[in-house]
Symmetry: C2
Subunit: 136 residues, 2 copies
């Protein structure tokens, strides 16, 4: 089951048709891994800006993509079904974004934390800020 199949199934199961703009948005994110909205718009060269926005909205509702807060903007990435769960470290000097591997112990700890406050956790984001190897 490759990414394209997962993608097509997600759409089919929600009675949403696979159109050129939607494929373009998916392709851009699959290829570039992580994009700002502006980057995504220009990566989908012949898709209208409004359609990119509408597409990201529907994709997010379906879990096909995620919005990753970085600093105070956000970036877009394919959802968890398309790659392992991970977090990001952003270098405050050069702006590089480093993907961090999943840490099961960490995830458990978060579940605990939420549970203690009677909060039902559906998702979470962790954002580290600091200096990358080359900038420090």
């Amino acid at each position: 089951m490759n990414s394209q199949n997962i993608f097509e199934n997600a759409l089919k199961q929600n009675h949403i048709s696979l159109t050129k703009p939607r494929q373009a948005v998916f392709d851009a994110l699959q290829h570039h891994k992580s994009l700002s909205m502006a980057e995504l718009v220009s990566a989908c060269s012949d898709v209208d800006r409004a359609s990119v926005y509408r597409t990201t909205d529907t994709f997010e509702k379906l879990g096909i993509i995620m919005r990753i807060p970085t600093g105070w903007k956000y970036r877009l990435e394919l959802g968890e079904a398309f790659h392992e769960h991970h977090h990001h470290a952003t270098c405050s000097s050069c702006g590089a974004s480093i993907a961090l591997p999943e840490d099961p112990a960490l995830e458990r700890r978060l579940q605990d934390l939420a549970h203690r406050r009677n909060f039902t956790l559906t998702s979470h984001q962790i954002e580290l800020t600091g200096l990358c190897e080359t900038c420090q």
Copy 2:
């Protein structure tokens, strides 16, 4: 050492003068704890919008304030020197934001994670999303 002193020292150490607009921004955040940019602007009634933006930028660089991502917007709060470190859980149904107590084990885990990638951690944000007690 109260908040005002910490604030004044942070400015002094960076050769930045304490002006009316800057004090207004600081006061608003100290009083309201957590504000959106729009709220902050209207809370600083006779400070120009552009100055609020410029002030939040410089304050953020000095660590006087932090941007807290909530969903995909953000809110502004005083930095870590001004209150205990904590994180937020946002209810996806009613939008409530619940402050979570610090968890030292969690913080250690993050340090580890960053260290393993030769990343020098200066700060971090954790954002939980799910359902609060009343909404679930």
